[in-house]
Subunit: 311 residues, 2 copies
Amino acid sequence: MIRRVGIDVGGTKALGVALDETGAVIAEDRRPTPRGDHSLEPLVDTLVELAESLGVDGSLGVGVPGLVTREGVLRAAPNLDGVADFEVGRLVAERLGHPVSVDNDATCATVAEWQLGAAAGTENMMLVTLGTGIGGGLVANGAVQRGLNGFAGEFGHMVVHPNGPRCPCGRRGCWERYASGSGLAMLAREAATGRRLRAVVEHAGGDPQNVRGEHVQAAAREGDADALAVIDDFGRWVALGLSNLTNAFDPEMFVLGGGLAAGAELYLDPIVRWYSELLYQPQLRPLPRIEFAQWGPLAGAVGAALMPGVT
Amino acid sequence: MIRRVGIDVGGTKALGVALDETGAVIAEDRRPTPRGDHSLEPLVDTLVELAESLGVDGSLGVGVPGLVTREGVLRAAPNLDGVADFEVGRLVAERLGHPVSVDNDATCATVAEWQLGAAAGTENMMLVTLGTGIGGGLVANGAVQRGLNGFAGEFGHMVVHPNGPRCPCGRRGCWERYASGSGLAMLAREAATGRRLRAVVEHAGGDPQNVRGEHVQAAAREGDADALAVIDDFGRWVALGLSNLTNAFDPEMFVLGGGLAAGAELYLDPIVRWYSELLYQPQLRPLPRIEFAQWGPLAGAVGAALMPGVT
């Protein structure tokens, strides 16, 4: 039996899975992600250990959080200290004696949802991960679209407000300033500073400056109207970016992943409602489907495992 | 010899070309575009006449300004009065006795530049037409990307400023409010209202409210510093949208077409300079090329002629 192993390297942990030939997950394992200035060698060790513990016997796929060239070199990874121009694929392959394919983690998640998840059977789809920031990937004409440098799918850095809040990337008003977990918290803090959001601020321990996305979620689940208004505003920002992407690509569907997928039932209605408002000429077309991801936290690892067989 | 005939239907004229097997233009003809509430039948007549005058003897391609379904139905065309759900392909094919393929005019122009123009040899490219508004098209993984409904490439309606000026499409702050010919005129009128732009206003006959893009161009060509500052600002807005598209798609190159291509020598430097400022992580990648289109006003017709052979 062929065992396909994939590892998703996150900022805090590396999560590995083994899939059987049908794509079912038959094993799962994880290790803390080594951090610090000299983390490259320990990171290679961790990947080799994980792959071996999962019984790798053919190719290995690795998803990493950052810009990955088409040759599998991790050029930069804001969430992995000291990592730049890291030839992760070559180094791990030398140790393992198996070929290793490396890709951006959101591109891997895209492959998982496209091949075996919410977007199975589509030819043109986009995955948008709503987490601390926004990542993503796209399938165009039945193939993963990596782009000139392998950097396609950096949807979070589309500028949607030129005078908006400063983004760590150096620009202002990137989509992920509004439509990510950080964005939700910012929208909530702004509303709280205006002396609303009593229930949300209570969830945050009483200080508006401590408000995070989870506090908004908690109050919204209790039916708090102020919290639901923040989520509606958040849904508008998510929808704005999705409608921009639709105007450019007209995909068959959007799959929404990332950490906020855990609150899908709160977000989906406002997102879909605002999307049909904001889209160009919505009356002239069947709207693309918008659904949350099926693979949850396993998407990156599953997609990494599938990646060696994907063009 | 196979003669490929293409017609580009514009708001004022329909322009037809015939290509030989090498793609060289061997004949060209034009007719006024019929206007008015009952323009469908006269428009079909015009297309048939043009195709016959150009010696159509095989398939015909037609480019039309609006949203075209994948079945070749023109769903809506803001610049052609009274046109909605126009089955142009079927109606013309019945009269001609030849198959007719119909596509969006900017998609046709994309094919012309991709197959026989500035982007020849690329697998992933975007054409952006800077005219009264902004249209475009894209090639992904070596195939034209039409999208779910055939509406891909409506780049002009990406929202880049949620509180920006109202767009005829009903939203605010669409990219084409800033980065088209209309946008250039708006930026110039705003600057002129601030009592600058003496030379530009003179070109416009003395009234700041009459300023159009061509007046800015004329003053800029004379070296007027105020006009050049407006063009620099305009270049920043063009670059903002191009960098958004790059973050999503990471194309090999952008081809800029449309009416503003006539002033390419004024616009290209500011666009490229701002683009390298605004792009996410520009230091980590070779920048995609940005060039103006090679086919000029013939792009739509040439692409329409090529379209029947393009997947």
